[in-house]
Symmetry: C2
Subunit: 518 residues, 2 copies
């Protein structure tokens, strides 16, 4: 596999799974040429006039869709760790004797450990999509036949839109659908909020199959996925385990260190002058992020400040902001708890969005860069503010990118992270994998202090007279190394074997993940 150094100095392959790739050229340096993917023109003549696209079962739908060896099948992570459909799908594909599928999920979860046997027996050739937990471990061990490709939510939309990834068959889990294929995620026993991650697939896949456990009469409203893009509808008993679908990393942290970080974040946003009437912010899930929302809320109330919008992943804490009049809108990419689902169903100011709307870098702008502050996590950050979100210092690929890369484009990107975890430094000299170039990371907030990117002179000036514990990032690194006994031990890697690549939001290759030798 031929590797070249890209603009971050990382070695990346020039070809991945047989496809020529462009090495990362720097932030905002690569301009695409060419035209969008061009799906075949369809005709109503080939679809039932009465709008009833229901077929007997998944196997029937896959047959009608022309499933063949080597095809690309996409799924979506709306059902999260409660998903049974994807496992059922590959059980069916296996039964049908089909081989070498490229699986193109928006994300995989521990529940998809079930699929390892299909990676082993050749039913699935490789995965392009985030590989959380077991599948990531399997991949890092060099056991997957092809090379994994990790994309952000926006990057996935971009790849489909630009024709980089052609989806042969999209299988969309729909908590509610009508026989025409109009579908949503806000109603039904498997309600997950929204199903916008499937938008690109519904628009560009050759064939789209909607699978539902709540078939309602036409018209299914709202239609988050439009039946006009759907070929077949399949009814099954249950899409998954409802308690895990809306699973939620939605408990506030109890760790004093994490609470301190959350408090610093809120304080920083206020003291830097970001928290003012009409401002906006994005907070993901995870204990620290949730706590920060509560702290910021108190500050907003104290100062009488109202946000114009907040971005989810939504939780009950964001819903409270909306319902208490502290924000005009929630612009939501996914709902993390049942309160989020309820709010999206009931409140027109809780607006569902899609990766096209929010994150697609190859559009006429997107929402991510409009947001005043984004508060994110990371597995590692280096002294040049480069950040990692997919691997750990032991080299294992255990997380997906999600919307993280896309959110880096906010006006003030804050990584709220502990300075070390399990006595392994999080702030260090060099990240294992670069997922976000340092120039887009503005502030690092740890329990030991706050480091502002030297490029952001405006932020440095804004908080100069505050009581915030501002330090240089190197100072924080030194303290952490002191505590942990130096830099983390380097994993033993097989540098001849790239097991996965990390794409940047523009489709170029930002970094490689190498095989770990145990």
């Amino acid at each position: 596999m031929k590797l070249v150094k890209n603009a971050t100095g990382r070695l990346v392959p020039v070809q991945v799974n047989g496809r020529k790739e462009i090495p990362f050229k720097g932030v905002n340096k690569f301009k695409p040429t060419g035209v969008k993917a061009k799906p075949p023109i369809r005709t109503c003549i080939d679809y039932p006039a009465d709008g009833n696209k229901v077929v007997k079962n998944l196997k029937e739908a896959l047959k009608k869709a022309g499933l063949k060896d080597g095809m690309t099948i996409s799924t979506h992570h709306h059902l999260r760790n409660g998903d049974v459909l994807t496992n059922l799908l590959f059980d069916t594909i296996k039964q049908m004797g089909i081989k070498n599928i490229r699986w193109f999920p928006t994300a995989s979860f521990p529940c998809h450990q079930h699929l390892i046997k299909y990676l082993e027996d050749g039913t699935i050739h490789h995965i392009e999509g985030s590989m959380n937990g077991p599948l990531g471990r399997f991949t890092t061990q060099g056991k997957m036949k092809g090379v994994g490709v990790l994309r952000s939510h926006g990057g996935r939309y971009q790849a489909v839109q630009d024709g980089e990834v052609h989806v042969d068959i999209a299988v969309i889990a729909a908590p509610t659908s009508d026989p025409f294929g109009n579908s949503n995620g806000v109603n039904g026993k498997s309600a997950c909020g929204l199903i916008g991650f499937a938008l690109a697939d519904s628009e560009y896949a050759d064939k789209t199959i909607v699978v539902t456990d709540n078939l309602v009469p036409f018209p299914c409203i709202p239609w988050q996925i439009q039946g006009n893009n759907v070929d077949y509808v399949v009814q099954i008993d249950s899409l998954g385990d409802a308690t895990k679908i809306v699973s939620g990393t939605t408990e506030i942290t109890k760790s004093p260190d994490r609470l301190l970080i959350a408090e610093y974040v809120a304080q920083f946003i206020e003291e830097a002058g970001i928290m003012k009437d009409g401002f906006s912010f994005q907070a993901g899930s995870g204990g620290t992020n949730l706590a920060f929302v509560l702290y910021l809320k108190e500050r907003m109330k104290a100062k009488g400040v109202k946000a114009s919008f907040v971005r989810g992943g939504s939780t009950k804490y964001l819903v409270q902001l909306l319902e208490e009049g502290l924000t005009n809108y929630i612009l939501d990419g996914q709902t993390f708890d049942l309160e989020g689902v309820r709010s999206m169903r009931e409140n027109p100011r809780h607006q569902n969005t899609s990766p096209f709307t929010s994150y697609n870098f190859h559009g006429k702008g997107n929402f991510a860069s409009i947001v005043d502050a984004a508060v994110l996590g990371a597995t590692e950050v280096d002294v040049n503010f480069n950040a990692n979100v997919v691997t750990h210092s032991d080299g294992y690929l255990l997380h997906g990118i999600g919307g993280w890369q896309n959110c880096l484009y906010s006006k003030c990107t804050i990584l709220a992270i502990p300075s070390f975890r399990d006595r392994i430094p999080v702030i260090l000299d060099e990240v294992t994998t670069i997922c976000g170039p340092g120039e887009l990371v503005d502030v690092i907030i740890t329990e030991r202090g706050i480091a502002i990117n030297p490029k952001r002179k405006d932020l440095i000036a804004a908080v100069k007279n505050s009581k915030l514990p501002i330090k240089s990032i190197k100072q924080i690194r030194d303290e952490v190394y002191e505590i942990c006994g130096g830099a983390p031990a380097k994993p033993k890697l097989n540098k001849n074997k790239v097991v996965a690549v990390v794409k940047w939001v523009d489709g170029t290759v930002l970094d490689s993940v190498f095989q770990v030798i145990d």
Copy 2:
């Protein structure tokens, strides 16, 4: 101009405005091949990171969009006869010294008479889109430089999607927009309901300009047009005359004949067994259609029947059905009065739709064929049930197709028409222009009786024992000829000069409109 006979026996050109065309091959006979239009890939690098796409004025936006001689500019008829934007647009184009524009509106209205001077001086080369009133007269007189192309709402979406018509610059009138270009028609002083007719253009045009008289902070919700598809936003004082924007042919007819027709329609729908729980119907604007809704409503109430959905153009009468619980949903293509606008703004069960959703024949199905009954008008119907909706018997092109052709696909298409107008037969031997092939027209309801298409044996059987005045269409024609003194006088046509063509929903050429010699 070379003409050939198509499947209806009509003479149609094989080339229109320099483009090769396919003659109509019969209903459901033409299957498209090839791929959809492929817009260039864009990048966020070229758009303002803060999401503010507002430019100084329309001229500036047109300049930035690269306006050049011979380009195709699209507009949309959401502002109806109150539109001032389109006239302002062409005043600006004229000022800029640009020539030979192909104007691609969804429809034109009498207020666009202003543009005749630009058709005369070469600013506009020709119009593709419906030409109501003065522009239609101008065209029929052979004065337009190019050939007019008439498409249904669905056909227009199809043409853009399929790459038949490439829009260089779309100019979208938006009653409300944010600086990013997210727009809707439900809010603002020029609220018109929805702006879905601009969807295709926003998706496929090279450049999209949103013009608004109500610029609101981001995010504009709902976003009927997505800012991610918009290049520039222009603020002007007023999009038009609000009293004419929601102008409404929304008065119930007072004519006893028309009321009788309306009553027959309601009675037919009940007695034919169509009016049952969960049924659906579409009613357009116009006095007879509105009256029919009221009659049907009484019958629904009397029998305790509830519709699953009704399709608009919505008016207060449809809104009443919704609010009184007589239908679950309004699926609305446009709002014809302020009550419709209010309902769409307030009631999530009053769902806006687009030509993609409702009418695009080159999709994976559409809504039109799901509807149980569509009640439509016509200017002429012949004894083979072929119908005309664009020209009068004097040869003049005075109306657009709208969604009419698309609605013919309903399960029961009823033309509710007077048997004659101004002593000119409406039921006659041969229509001046075929807009709808007879095999799709199921029932003709006139004040003199009801004719059922012999193909619809099921409907004939269903009403056999009713008291409805069922007649053959020839019998009605005979009666009408008797009253009017025979067939209408044939206009003097220049058969060497096609002034416009009528497209079928699949993009083939259904008929020609010839120059009338006064």
